[in-house]
């Protein structure tokens, strides 16, 4: 078995450990120090999920087919990497939502109230390059995502997404054992929606949500075949900067500091702004390499979002008022300990022990900044993840087991004022339950690689995830997901 084969299987084995340091690798220049020399993988996969406790705006069931190709090549002073993927999937029983990518559009979601299937096709391309010059590395990265999502039953959204991400960075060895990195990144996202109704004499209520079930009374409407439906556009710009410090070889301190500003604008009809959402995010990470193979990491993340509503006169021509009414603050703290060990000459293992604290606070305000609706959730979770890799003469076998228990520390929900009809019982409450329930999550992954020759390996990968929620109601409260993949690596 050659080194190339070791590289291929090692990468899957080390993926989680590497991912623990994703903030450092987001700098295209720091990528030069990524612990991988050369790898290309091409795979086809099929996944499905069936949830009983879920975000109603994302649906309870779904499946997805994916073609994925990734390549990473480091030669002397140059690094090239890139990827491409095609996804084709469906989400079932999507309710109170007519869009895709709702996590980045929240809270200003254009919603209908008819549970239905959302079909989605997505293309993704990315490429990066880094060049080492003496003690410095310069890097650039770009990615482009295009997707369409649609529903074949009334009301029919047709959503087109364009997402361009650009990043550039520099890293330089300023101290004997440290590389310092600086990078800036930009993300331009746009989702155009045409919402229409095909059926004669049919109609559907459409709500322009403002958070915690509140709906805009001016724009929320009933669409019919004759009134032309609704046209909406979301535009999002994100700018960010990251400073990082990466130790070389010896046990030393890792530091990464990021800040980003995100602006989202929803326009409707004749290009009038309906709402804006501004989010600021700060992220600080420290890690320490205790000894070879053992790391400890502390991550702190704070984000604050402010949502502004635009109110017009009856002709929707003259802007009367911009009111900053929605606010949400999230805090995330993570302490993780990772280690790696050999279990004999052909078997090795690694693990991550982690504890996460997540706090979410949402408010909908009135004059005087008093809250009329609010949601507060604090969760603490403890997780364990382990990979075990066994090498054989012509093959390798990888087992990954991940388990995580989320315990709710506190929760509070006050909603109902100005809420759209049935939004509390159909949207706000189920999503609140999903976010705040205690949950035991388990995921098992098995990957088998067969080395065809020195260069090529064929692999099969299977994944099964199971979550058990502890809810007050007595209904089914577990979620299941699986995926299978076949791939070629070289």
């Amino acid at each position: 078995m050659g080194n190339a084969q070791n590289n291929r299987t090692n990468y899957e084995f080390q993926k989680d450990q590497i991912g623990l340091f994703s903030s450092w690798w987001n700098n295209p220049a720091m990528r030069f120090h990524y612990p991988l020399e050369e790898l290309t993988e091409v795979s086809l996969s099929q996944s499905a999920y069936d949830n009983n406790v879920y975000n109603v705006q994302k649906g309870d069931k779904g499946n997805n087919f994916e073609f994925l190709a990734n390549s990473f090549t480091k030669k002397q002073n140059k690094l090239f990497y890139g990827g491409a993927s095609y996804n084709n999937g469906v989400q079932k029983n999507v309710n109170w939502n007519t869009l895709t990518d709702i996590d980045r559009l929240y809270p200003y979601i254009v919603a209908d109230t008819i549970p239905d299937k959302m079909r989605k096709e997505q293309y993704y391309f990315s490429g990066g390059y880094a060049q080492k010059m003496n003690e410095s590395v310069l890097g650039i990265f770009a990615s482009y995502t295009a997707s369409t999502s649609y529903d074949r039953r009334d009301p029919r959204p047709y959503n087109k997404v364009f997402d361009l991400q650009l990043a550039t960075g520099i890293s330089r060895k300023l101290l004997p054992d440290y590389n310092f990195g600086l990078n800036v990144f930009f993300d331009r996202y746009q989702q155009d929606q045409k919402l229409s109704l095909f059926k004669d004499n049919g109609s559907a209520s459409v709500f322009y949500l403002r958070g915690l079930g509140v709906a805009d009374a001016t724009y929320s409407t009933v669409i019919t075949k004759t009134n032309g439906g609704a046209d909406n556009t979301y535009k999002q710009n994100c700018y960010g900067v990251n400073l990082s410090m990466l130790p070389l070889n010896k046990k030393r301190l890792f530091v990464s500091l990021s800040a980003s500003i995100n602006n989202l604008e929803l326009t409707s009809g004749n290009n009038q702004t309906v709402s804006e959402y501004d989010k600021k995010l700060g992220k600080l990470e420290f890690a320490y390499k205790i000894s070879k193979g053992y790391n400890i990491k502390l991550l702190g993340e704070l984000s604050k979002g402010d949502g502004t509503e635009f109110n017009y006169d009856i002709s929707k021509k003259y802007l009367l008022n911009k009111a900053k009414k929605f606010t949400n603050i999230t805090q995330f703290l993570q302490l993780a300990f990772a280690g790696e060990m050999n279990l004999g000459s052909k078997t090795k293992a690694n693990f991550i022990l982690s504890s996460d604290y997540h706090s979410l606070e949402e408010k909908y305000l009135k004059i005087g900044n008093a809250s009329i609706n609010n949601k507060n959730i604090k969760n603490l979770s403890i997780g364990f993840l382990a990979n075990v890799l066994r090498q054989y003469e012509q093959s390798s076998l990888l087992f990954k087991l991940e388990t995580n228990y989320r315990n709710n520390l506190s929760k509070e929900l006050n909603a109902g004022r100005l809420a759209a009809d049935k939004a509390i019982e159909q949207l706000v409450m189920p999503n609140y339950t999903f976010q705040s329930s205690n949950r035991l999550f388990t995921n098992l992954l098995i990957r088998y690689d067969y080395f065809i020759n020195e260069k090529y390996a064929l692999y099969l990968k299977g994944n099964f995830a199971y979550s058990k929620f502890n809810q007050i109601d007595t209904g089914e409260n577990d979620n299941r997901a699986y995926s299978i993949a076949i791939g070629l690596s070289f």
Binding site: L257, G282, Y312
Partner: protein, 414 residues
């Protein structure tokens, strides 16, 4: 590199990310002055109580405040577009025939819609108008929404109807009663609408009159008049429709375009902007009035003497088009009853004076839930075997929206 410096830089970045703005929600101070009805000047009119309702059109939030401290009330409001209404009771003194002062009581209301509340301070002047519950004829039910066949197809074959009710304890005569559909739609507020005659008259597009010399069509207390488009048993063609063969009158638009049922008398067509048959607006965008002229008026006289020409600015995106239309009008003093209709999702403005109707009723929300449903007046109470229907000139409160139709039948319980 000092660790301390990194921590300080991090703290600065994170605090910058979480800094707050104080100018979150703009607000204005609104000073509302309400004056007594002009025709009660010198009659010692005094307000007993008043309820202010301020509805933010953009957010849907309603602020309700009860007060008797008139004429001036102050509100601290979030900037936006508002509908402001006030309703109450006033007492005033009148002289009797023998010159004695009699204390009287009447309901009053004032309403103004689509008020732009911006810029910090706003003075608003409203004038009360009096309204009195009907003691005579009133519109008890309107079925405008069409039905659907069992196959789900829209059945628009003449099963619309308007029901009129004698709410008094006397025999009334229907001769000369007119029904009309408004020209303006409650879902389309017109920009720069002129001349705005809503305080004096209701602009109308279709008017039909019950024939008769004055004593030909008596209506007993507690009885109805059923006026339909085509007075046949529609159940034979569509089991989801109604039997309208017992209608008292039909509105009829001419043999060449309409179906006539000879057994049922036709109303006199005074005027209609429709070149075809009159079909009530099936989503409820138009409103309806019941009125009687103060003298005999022939159709040709109505067309000539009550013509109404109006203009407005049609705004679409960044484009503006001046528009003008011809219609007719009905003076407010002729109006016996008025029912404003709309859809909750698309309502924009009042198409008539708030003294005629302070709000609107609806069947569904412009959507499929309207099919086979009517708007029906509530029963206030029952006297003997006669139902007294509620009429406060406030259709949101007086009517059951999206109701089960019952042509020609008044229930004794809601």
């Amino acid at each position: 590199m000092k660790i301390r410096n990194i921590i300080i830089a991090a703290a600065l970045l994170i605090s910058a990310a979480s800094c707050d703005d104080n100018d979150a929600i703009n607000k204005s101070f609104v000073d509302v002055k309400v004056s007594m009805p002009s025709h009660l000047e010198g009659k010692s009119a005094e307000l007993e109580n008043a309820v202010f309702t301020l509805e933010n059109v953009n957010t849907g939030e309603k602020l309700v405040r009860e007060t008797s401290y008139i004429p001036q009330v102050y509100f601290d409001l979030e900037d936006g577009l508002y509908n402001i209404s006030v309703e109450g009771t006033i007492t005033y003194s009148n002289l009797s025939l023998d010159n004695k002062s009699i204390q009287k009581e009447t309901g009053v209301r004032a309403k103004q819609e689509n008020i732009k509340v911006i810029g910090g301070d706003l003075d608003l002047n409203l004038e009360f108008v009096t309204f009195n519950p009907s003691q005579g004829f009133l519109i008890s039910e309107i079925f405008f929404a069409d039905t659907r066949t069992p196959e789900g197809k829209q059945y628009a074959a003449g099963d619309q109807y308007i029901e009129i009710y004698n709410n008094s304890d006397k025999v009334l005569y229907a001769d000369g009663l007119c029904i009309a559909e408004t020209e303006l739609m409650s879902v389309e507020a017109l920009n720069e609408y002129t001349p705005d005659i809503r305080n004096e008259a209701v602009p109308v597009s279709s008017v039909y009159m019950i024939p008769g010399s004055g004593n030909e069509y008596p209506v007993q207390p507690g009885e109805t008049l059923l006026i339909s488009d085509i007075a046949i048993n529609h159940k034979e063609a569509n089991k989801n429709s109604f039997d309208l063969s017992k209608s008292n009158f039909e509105w009829f638009d001419g043999e060449d375009i309409d179906t006539d049922v000879p057994e049922v008398k036709n109303m006199i067509k005074m005027v209609s902007t429709s070149k075809s048959v009159w079909h009530l607006h099936s989503r409820g965008f138009k409103s309806y009035i019941l009125f009687k002229f103060d003298k005999e008026v022939l159709p040709e006289e109505y067309v000539k003497n009550y013509a109404y020409h109006y203009e407005y600015l049609f705004v679409f995106n960044d484009m503006e088009f001046p528009m003008d239309f011809d219609a007719w009008k009905v003076p407010n003093e002729f109006i016996i009853d008025a029912v404003q209709c709309s859809t909750p999702s698309e309502y924009q403005w009042m198409v008539m004076s708030s003294s005629l109707d302070a709000s609107y009723t609806h069947s569904g929300d412009g959507d499929a839930s309207r099919y086979g449903r009517s708007v029906k007046r509530k029963v206030l109470h029952v006297e003997g075997d006669r139902s007294i229907l509620q009429d406060t000139n406030d259709s949101a409160s007086d009517f059951i929206p999206t109701a089960e139709p019952s042509p020609g039948i008044i229930e004794t319980l809601n």
